[in-house]
Amino acid sequence: MTEVKRPSLLKPTIRTPFQIDFEWWKESERDWQVYLRSLLCPAHQESLANLEDGQMIDWVEENTAEVREVDGIQHALMSHCARQEDFVTQKTALVEAVFRLFLANGNQPMSAEDLSARMGRPANTILTTLAGPRVYKGLRPAQ
């Protein structure tokens, strides 16, 4: 039986943790890979230009030289591009900034309160945006 994801009946508060729901991207038929690639820094846009969407690469650990297979674009984005100073600025739109912050922290759940502390915007504004009837960029309460 197909599992149907149901919205929580509890009303989210500023302490409710949110995260990116990758399933939402699949369900809404948006091109996640294209979107991710658009967020890469110029250097990675160039070096990963020939890498196919979703292709795994061999990532070499910095201290032990141990190899792990990871999604090439996603890994470059989270480990490098999302950590650049201009990845999230004061001018970045609220929903975009929240999305980028989740990318930068490896999609670890964060509440509106946590996001407020990082972005310098009111927690209630963030909560009202994320907890509304419309789902933006797959940002949903963490399951």
Binding site: S47, L48, N50, L51, M56, I57, D58, W59, V60, E62, N63, T64, A65, E66, V67, R68, G72, A76
Partner: protein, 521 residues
Amino acid sequence: MASVSLNLPTNYWQILHVTPTDIEFLQTYLFEHETPLTPRELAAVLVVERLRAEQESAAKKQDLTKAYLPKEKYAVGDLIRFPALKSSGRVTAMRAGLNPELGAFDVLTVAMHDGAQKMFAAALENHKLNDPPAEDESASELDPEAVARDFGADLEKKLDSAFAGDKSLVCIAGRWFPRALLLDVNAGHLNLAEAVLDMAGGEPFSTETLMKDLELPADVNPKLAEFSLNYALQEDPRFDEVGPAGKVLWCLERLEPEGVRTVPVPLQYVEITYDRAVLTDQMVALEAQVDDELGQASAPPADEVTISLLYPHWRAGTLPISARVKRLFPTAYESDRVCFTLVDAKTGRKIPAWVVRKHGYVYGLADWYKSQELMPGALIRVRRGGQPGEVRIEALTHRSVRDWVRTVIVGADGGLVFALLKQQISAELNDRMALAVPDPAAVDAAREQAAKSRVSFEDLTRNLMRELTKLSPQGHVHAQELYAGINILRRVPPAPLMALLATHPEYTHVGDLHYRLDEAA
């Protein structure tokens, strides 16, 4: 030998067992160096040797395996050691790596020795492991100085106990040496040493001083000559080593004060059996507080302690070495008796004294007590002096005043009577232990008579309680007052006395360690 990476278990030095190989190595070391060494010095030698042996063993193992460097190329079947992971494994597969940012490299699949399967990069030019860090010898388990600092005390104990059963080694004043290498110190040398010490009239001499008068062979290691003489003197019952730890001083046993060679009569204790479990917390606290050398209560050592003088110590000219004051007085590795100097904190006068370790007292204060006009119960402050090994002593004296004090009077029948009489008091007193004894010789006779008549501990306690009760309007006596009183006639530590008070139906606890005698019970 090239330095190799050494990964010792973190508890290597804690669980180290001194093996026959270690003993043999240290014996050889002592033979080669012909210098007696302390367990601390031997432990340091052993640590260096163990590290060398572990390095050698690690180097042999490394010959079979290749150290992992990401830039190297490997083949299936190769054994690789991974210093960064403190592990090793065998290459089971190899393929080309894929990472547009790194260029061409290989990916090895390695079956690790712990059963895990991992992948590693190879033929990779740029990686920080290609410049392996120098071996971290500052790691505490690899640094001989750090090992000595952190685990030295444990190693010393292990070496001492391993050497104790070895007949080929001898230990003098905390130094070990092979018996076979000792110089021949003959009877003539020893007779000469006796004459020198005899002339000194009981003053202890160092081995070095004695050697000046003995004609030992001049062409040998002076330390060996000194050690050999120390050993010969130790084996001869005429001589007694009386120096504090780290210092060897010799004295003629027959010239030591009587109160050092044998326990003074007032301090002699005939053991009383009792059940320690019946003591309350309050009793144990009092036991620690009264500084009795026979007490078992633990107390943290302190740099300054004020002692209430108990009658037997006042009479014998001694001070108790209780748990609290133990660290203040000098100790020794082996000597039972240690000669040292006390300093009067007020006058700077030096008082020759002895620590009698086995029986827990300091001897040599009779004249000082007399000069300070102290009585039993007087408060004496003992503290560490400014110089290493110096102990300062101070009677809390004040201008002499007349005041009411419990006074011990010996009756015509030899029994003790207590009366409140006015006495000259020259020092601060512990009110519960203060006792004036105008005629100590009569008390000695009463003590002797009590010992001869074999009055039981229980009867003696009852008699004392009865006498002391007469001085109390409430009709009760504090355990500490009874402790001070009973010790006039018999040496009794506080614990057996309090155990009797706690268990015998004749004694009723009326609170705060005060007891009433109910002879009808």
